[in-house]
C-alpha cells in the first residue's frame, strides 16, 4: 500500500536546500561574510558527493510514486548545475562586496535556485517539473533585482518576473491539455497513453507540445521568446548574469529534453519541425544582434541566445547520439561562458563599471594573463579548434548533417563565422588598442581558481573530447 519513501534519492536536493536555509540563518550571526559563501560551496560539494556516490552504488531510482527520479540523465545535468553554482559563488565573493549586496540572501537564493534546477532535472512528473521551474525562477527574479539601489537591476527583475509568469501560463496550459487528453501528469504514463491513443487526439497533443516549446523556449531564450534576455542580463548583477546564462539555461534544456524525448517521443517528427526554424532564427538573431552591441554583458546575452540555438539543433535528429552531442555542447558552453564572465566580473572595480567594450582596451598590456585567458574563452565560444567550443559545435553539426539537415548546418556555420566578428572584437580591443586609463586590475584568488579551471577545461576538452562525450553517452543510457 504505502511505498517506503527512499529518502536517499532526495538527499542531494535536501542537502542543498538545507544549506540554503543554514546560510540565511548563519549570515545573521557570523561576522565574516565570506564564511557563508564557503558554507554554500561545501553544501554544493557534499550534495554532489552524495549524488554521485548514490549513482556509483547503483541506487538510482524513483520516489513519490515515480514523480522524482535519480538517473544518469539528471546526474549529468546536476554536474552542470554544481559547476555553475560553485563558480558563481567564487566569482561573487569580491563582486558583491563592490556592489554592496547583502551576502546572506544572495548566497541562499543561489542555492535555492540551484535546488530548483536539480528538481527540474530529476522531475518525472509535470507537477514536480513545474515546482522545480518555479523554485528556480522565483529565486532568479529576486537575484536579478538584488541591487535594490540600482534602477536597471529593479527593471530587470520586474521584466523577468512578468514575462516569466507569462511563460508559466503557457507551461500550465500545456500540462493541463496533456492531462485532459491522457488523464495523467506522469511523464512515462503520458508516453504510454499517447502510444495507446495512436493518431487520435494528435492535434490536441500537438497544441500541448507547442505550448511546452513556447514555455521552455522562453527559459532557454529561443527567438522569438528571447526578448527578456538582453535586458535582464544587462541589468542584473554580473555574477547573477553569469549564473543565469549557464545553470538555468541548462536546466531548461534538461526538462525540454525530458518532456520532448520521454513524454512526446511519439511526436518526434512534429517537434523537430517546430524546433528547426526556431533554432536557425535564434542563431541568426543572436549572432546579428550581438554585432551591434557595445556593452559586453549585452553582447554575451545575445551570444547566449545564439548558443541556445546551436544547442537546440541537437534535438532535431531525435537520436540518442545527437542528444548526447547536445548535452556535451551544454557542458562545454557553460564552462567557457563562466570563464568569460569571470573576466567580466573582475573588470568591475570600485568606481569603474567595466562593462563597455572600450574598457577592454589595452588589457593585454595591463594584464597579459587575463587578456590571454579571455582570448581563449572568446576563441572557444567562436568555435576555433582545438578548443572545446569547436568540439561542441562539431558534434552537434555532425549529428545534424548525418540526419540530413545539411542546409540548416550550412546556415549555422555561416552564422558561426559571423559570430567570430563580435567575439574577436573583444580580442582586438584587448590586444590592438591602447589603454584609456592606467588603472590596475586586481584578480582575487577565488577568481584565479575559476579562471584556471575554466581555461584548462576549455583546452583539455578540446584536445581530449571523448572523455566528456563518452560520459554524456553513458549518462543517457543509465
Amino acid at each position: 500500500m504505502f511505498e517506503t519513501i527512499n529518502m536517499k534519492i532526495l538527499l542531494p536536493e535536501l542537502i542543498l536546500i538545507c544549506t540554503g536555509l543554514a546560510v540565511i540563518l548563519l549570515d545573521l550571526v557570523l561576522r565574516k561574510k565570506e564564511t557563508v559563501a564557503f558554507i554554500g560551496v561545501a553544501g554544493a560539494l557534499l550534495s554532489a558527493y552524495y549524488n554521485f556516490s548514490l549513482m556509483s552504488l547503483g541506487w538510482s531510482g524513483a520516489v513519490f510514486q515515480n514523480m522524482f527520479v535519480l538517473d544518469g540523465y539528471s546526474s549529468f545535468f546536476k554536474l552542470i548545475f554544481y559547476i555553475s553554482l560553485i563558480i558563481t559563488i567564487f566569482i561573487s565573493l569580491n563582486y558583491i562586496k563592490t556592489e554592496r549586496v547583502s551576502s546572506g540572501e544572495y548566497y541562499s537564493l543561489l542555492l535555492f535556485s540551484a535546488s530548483g534546477m536539480m528538481i527540474m532535472a530529476g522531475a518525472a512528473d509535470f507537477m514536480v517539473l513545474y515546482l522545480g521551474i518555479e523554485l528556480m525562477s522565483l529565486s532568479l527574479y529576486i537575484l536579478a533585482g538584488i541591487m535594490r539601489e540600482r534602477r536597471t537591476s529593479n527593471e530587470a527583475a520586474i521584466k523577468y518576473f512578468f514575462l516569466g509568469a507569462f511563460s508559466s501560463a503557457f507551461l500550465l496550459f500545456g500540462i493541463s491539455l496533456t492531462y485532459g487528453l491522457t488523464g495523467t501528469t506522469s511523464i512515462i504514463e503520458v508516453a504510454e497513453a499517447l502510444n495507446r491513443l495512436g493518431p487520435a487526439g494528435r492535434n490536441i497533443t500537438l497544441i500541448a507540445v507547442i505550448f511546452f516549446v513556447t514555455a521552455f523556449g522562453f527559459k532557454v531564450a529561443l527567438v522569438p521568446f528571447h526578448m527578456w534576455a538582453p535586458d535582464v542580463y544587462e541589468g542584473a548583477p554580473t555574477s547573477v548574469t553569469a549564473f543565469m546564462s549557464t545553470g538555468p539555461k541548462a536546466a531548461a534544456f534538461a526538462v525540454m529534453g525530458r518532456v520532448l524525448f520521454y513524454a512526446f517521443g511519439a511526436l518526434q517528427l512534429q517537434w523537430s519541425a517546430i524546433i528547426e526554424p526556431l533554432s536557425i532564427v535564434t542563431i541568426a538573431v543572436g549572432s546579428i544582434l550581438a554585432l551591434s552591441q557595445t556593452n559586453i554583458k549585452r553582447m554575451l546575452a545575445y551570444s547566449a541566445i545564439a548558443h541556445a540555438g546551436y544547442a537546440s539543433i541537437g534535438f532535431l535528429p531525435g537520436t540518442q547520439e545527437a542528444f548526447a552531442a547536445m548535452i556535451n555542447y551544454l557542458m562545454i558552453y557553460i564552462i567557457v561562458n563562466l570563464g568569460a564572465f569571470a573576466v567580466v566580473v573582475i573588470m568591475r572595480r570600485e568606481g569603474i563599471m567595466g562593462e563597455e567594450l572600450s574598457d577592454y582596451s589595452g588589457l593585454a598590456k595591463k594584464n597579459p594573463l587575463v587578456a590571454f585567458l579571455m582570448l581563449i574563452f572568446m576563441f572557444s565560444l567562436t568555435g576555433i579548434p582545438p578548443l572545446a567550443g569547436f568540439i561542441g559545435k562539431f558534434y552537434i553539426f555532425m549529428g545534424a548533417v548525418e540526419a540530413g539537415y545539411t542546409k540548416l548546418v550550412i546556415a549555422a556555420v555561416i552564422f558561426s563565422a559571423v559570430s567570430a566578428f563580435f567575439y574577436l572584437r573583444v580580442v582586438v580591443y584587448m590586444y590592438m588598442k591602447e589603454a584609456a586609463e592606467p588603472s590596475v586590475l586586481i584578480v582575487p584568488h577565488s577568481v584565479k581558481l575559476v579562471l584556471a579551471f575554466t581555461s584548462i577545461m576549455a583546452i583539455l576538452l578540446g584536445i581530449f573530447p571523448s572523455v566528456l562525450l563518452d560520459f554524456a553517452r553513458a549518462s543517457l543510457l543509465g
Binding site: 513556447t214 538582453p230 571523448s466
Partner: protein, 589 residues
C-alpha cells in the same frame, strides 16, 4: 625493429563521428627510424651550436622556443601514421620556418625572406592539401595502412576534371609531389630556399639538413606504394629531380655569398634525392638524405663559424686565408667538402654513387640522360665546393684590416658540434657500401627494404665499375678545375667570366628566376590586387560586401533592436505572436 616490424601506437582518437575519425597515432617503422636519427642527431647538435652562436642575441629565448617547436613539428611529421597528422606537422614546419627565417624581423630582407618562404610553400601546400582531400575521397580514410593497402584496388580509377578523365592515383601522386616540391625546394618552387639564409645560420643548417627540406623527400618515400603505381608521377619526380640537380648546381658555380653557394648546393642535392626516388630507388634517396644531412649541416655550421669570425661578412670575395686563423673550422669544412664532392671512402661518395648507378639502370634512353645529368651535377658540385674552400680559406685575406684583427676560432660550444658532424660526414656512408666493394655492404638498403622495397633492375659488374669510376673521375676533375681556377691561375675566373659574359650573368642572376616570378607572378598579382582587387573587388565588391553586409546587418540589427523596446507588453506580444505563428504553421499550412 630488427625484423622489419613497425610499431603503431594510437595515442588517442581526437574526433570520432560515424565513419570519420581523426586519430593522433604514431608509426615507427624502419623509414621513420632513419628519419628520426637524422632529425634528432642534427637538431641536438644545432641546439648546442646555437648556445654559442646566438649568445647575446636579444631574442635568445624566443629563438630556442621557435627552434624546439620546429623540431617538434618535424618529429610529428615523421612519426605520423596518417595523412592528417602529417599535414599538421607539414604546416607547423612551414609556420616555424617562417618564424625562424624572419627571426630578425627588424631587417627588411629577413622579413621578406620569411614571407617568401611561406608564400612559395603555400603554392605547394595547396596541392598537397588537395591531394590529402582526394586521398580521403578515394580511400575513405587517411591512415597510411588503409590507404596503401587499398592502393591496388584504386588502380585504374579516374577522376573527371573539366571533362578530362585523369587517373586518380597519378593525380594524387602529382598533388602530393606539388607539396614535396614546395617543401624540398625543387624547380620551380626553389626560390625560397636560398633566401632562407636570412635567418640565423643554425636555422639554415636545420632547415637545409634535417627538418624542413627533407620533408618532401620523406613524403614521396613514405607514399612509395602510391607512386610506384603511377609511371607518370615517377617520371615527373625523376625529371624534376634531375633538372633541379643540374640547374641549382650551375647557379652555385658563380655565387659569392658563402651561404648562398651552400644553399644552391642543397637544392641541387635534393634534386639528386628526387632523382633517386623517381627511378624507384627509394632507399637510395633516403640514404642520400641521411648522409647529406651530416655534411650539409657541417657546411652550414662551418660557414656560420666563418661568418661569426668575419663579423657577419658573407661575401667570399672579401675572405681568404682563414685557414691559419680557424684550423678546426677549416679541417671540418674540408671533410664536408670532400664528402659532398664524392671522394671515395667518405659518406657522400656511397650515397651519390648509389643514385648514379640506379639512374644508369633506369633504362636505356631516359636512364642514361638522367645519369648524365647527375654526373654533370657531380662535377659542378665538386667545383663549387672547392671554389668555396679556396676563396674562403686559402690565399690571402681580402677583407678590411679591422676584420683581420678580429679573426678568431669559434668557441668550443661551436667547434665541438662541427667535429661531431665531421665524423658523420666521414663515416655515415659506411652503412651503405655497394655489394660490389663489400659483400652485404648495403646494410641501409637491406634495412629499409621492408618499407621501401628493393629497387628494380640489375646491371653488370663492369657497368657498375664504370659508373663508379666515372663518378670518381668527375669529382676529381671538379676539384682539379677549382684548383686551377682559384689557386694556380687566379686571373682565370675573371677571364672566363668575361669570355662567357652572357652565361655568367645568367648564372649569377640565378636564371633570373626571382625576376621572372616578379615579372609574371608577383607584379601582375600586385598590380591586379592593387587595381582589380583593391580597386574593384576590394573597393567596390568586398568593401561593398564587407562594409555592406555589416552595414546592412548593422541597420538590420538596429532595426531589430528597435523591437527591443524595453516594454514588457511588446515582449509578451512577441511571445504570443511567435507561438501563434507556430500554431498557424501546423494547422493552416
Amino acid at each position: 625493429m630488427r625484423d622489419g616490424d613497425a610499431i603503431r601506437i594510437d595515442i588517442y582518437r581526437w574526433i570520432v563521428s560515424g565513419n570519420f575519425s581523426v586519430s593522433i597515432g604514431i608509426l615507427i617503422d624502419r623509414l621513420s627510424s632513419v628519419m628520426l636519427i637524422v632529425v634528432t642527431s642534427i637538431s641536438s647538435l644545432v641546439f648546442i651550436y646555437s648556445i654559442g652562436y646566438m649568445h647575446g642575441d636579444k631574442g635568445y629565448a624566443r629563438f630556442f622556443s621557435y627552434l624546439s617547436l620546429f623540431v617538434f613539428s618535424m618529429l610529428m611529421l615523421v612519426l605520423a601514421d596518417n595523412f592528417l597528422l602529417l599535414y599538421f606537422g607539414w604546416e607547423a614546419v612551414g609556420l616555424c620556418s617562417y618564424l625562424l627565417i624572419g627571426f630578425w624581423f627588424e631587417k627588411k630582407s629577413a622579413a621578406d625572406a620569411g614571407k617568401k618562404a611561406f608564400i612559395v610553400n603555400r603554392f605547394g601546400d595547396f596541392g598537397f592539401g588537395l591531394g590529402v582531400i582526394l586521398i580521403f575521397l578515394t580511400f575513405g580514410s587517411l591512415e597510411y595502412m588503409k590507404v596503401f593497402s587499398g592502393a591496388g584496388a584504386a588502380l585504374g580509377q579516374t577522376v573527371n576534371i573539366f571533362g578530362h578523365e585523369v587517373d586518380t592515383i597519378t593525380l594524387i601522386c602529382l598533388l602530393l609531389f606539388c607539396g614535396a616540391m614546395g617543401k624540398s625546394a625543387q624547380v620551380p618552387l626553389h626560390v625560397w630556399l636560398p633566401d632562407a639564409m636570412e635567418g640565423p645560420t643554425p636555422v639554415s643548417a636545420l632547415i637545409h639538413a634535417a627538418t624542413m627540406v627533407t620533408a618532401g623527400v620523406y613524403l614521396v618515400a613514405r607514399c612509395n606504394p602510391l607512386f610506384s603505381l603511377s609511371s607518370t608521377a615517377m617520371t615527373t619526380v625523376a625529371v624534376v629531380g634531375g633538372t633541379t640537380a643540374v640547374f641549382a648546381a650551375t647557379i652555385g658555380l658563380v655565387q659569392n655569398d658563402i651561404k648562398r653557394v651552400i644553399a644552391y648546393s642543397t637544392v641541387s642535392q635534393l634534386g639528386y634525392m628526387f632523382l633517386a626516388l623517381g627511378v624507384g630507388a627509394y632507399s637510395a634517396g633516403i640514404f642520400h638524405l641521411y648522409t647529406h644531412a651530416y655534411f650539409k649541416a657541417l657546411l652550414f655550421l662551418g660557414s656560420g663559424s666563418v661568418i661569426h669570425a668575419m663579423n657577419n661578412e658573407m661575401n667570399m670575395q672579401k675572405m681568404g686565408g682563414l685557414k691559419k686563423y680557424m684550423p678546426v673550422t677549416y679541417a671540418t669544412f674540408m671533410i664536408a667538402s670532400l664528402s659532398i664532392s664524392g671522394i671515395p671512402g667518405l659518406a657522400g661518395f656511397f650515397s651519390k654513387d648509389e643514385i648514379l648507378w640506379r639512374a644508369y639502370l633506369a633504362g636505356e634512353g631516359s636512364g642514361r640522360i638522367l645519369w648524365m645529368l647527375a654526373t654533370a651535377a657531380a662535377f659542378m658540385t665538386a667545383f663549387y665546393s672547392f671554389r668555396l674552400i679556396f676563396l674562403t680559406f686559402h690565399g690571402s685575406f681580402r677583407g678590411s684590416a679591422e676584420q683581420e684583427h678580429h679573426l678568431h676560432e669559434s668557441p668550443a660550444v661551436m667547434t665541438v658540434p662541427l667535429m661531431i658532424l665531421a665524423v658523420g660526414a666521414l663515416a655515415a656512408g659506411w652503412v651503405g657500401i655497394p655489394p660490389l666493394l663489400l659483400e652485404h655492404g648495403d646494410r641501409i638498403g637491406e634495412f629499409l627494404a621492408p618499407v621501401l622495397g628493393h629497387p628494380a633492375g640489375e646491371g653488370l659488374h663492369s657497368e657498375e665499375m664504370m659508373v663508379m669510376g666515372v663518378s670518381v673521375l668527375v669529382s676529381l676533375a671538379g676539384i682539379l678545375a677549382a684548383v686551377i681556377f682559384y689557386i694556380k691561375k687566379r686571373d682565370l675566373p675573371e677571364r672566363t667570366a668575361s669570355a662567357f659574359k652572357p652565361v655568367y650573368t645568367m648564372l649569377y642572376n640565378k636564371y633570373w628566376a626571382d625576376e621572372l616570378y616578379e615579372k609574371i607572378l608577383v607584379s601582375p598579382v600586385l598590380r591586379m590586387s592593387d587595381k582589380v582587387f583593391l580597386g574593384f573587388f576590394d573597393g567596390r565588391l568586398i568593401e561593398g560586401i564587407v562594409n555592406g553586409i555589416p552595414s546592412f546587418i548593422g541597420s538590420f540589427s538596429r532595426g531589430l533592436r528597435k523591437m527591443q523596446t524595453g516594454l514588457i507588453s511588446s515582449y509578451a506580444f512577441m511571445m504570443a505572436a511567435g507561438m501563434l505563428i507556430i500554431l498557424g504553421m501546423f494547422f493552416f499550412f
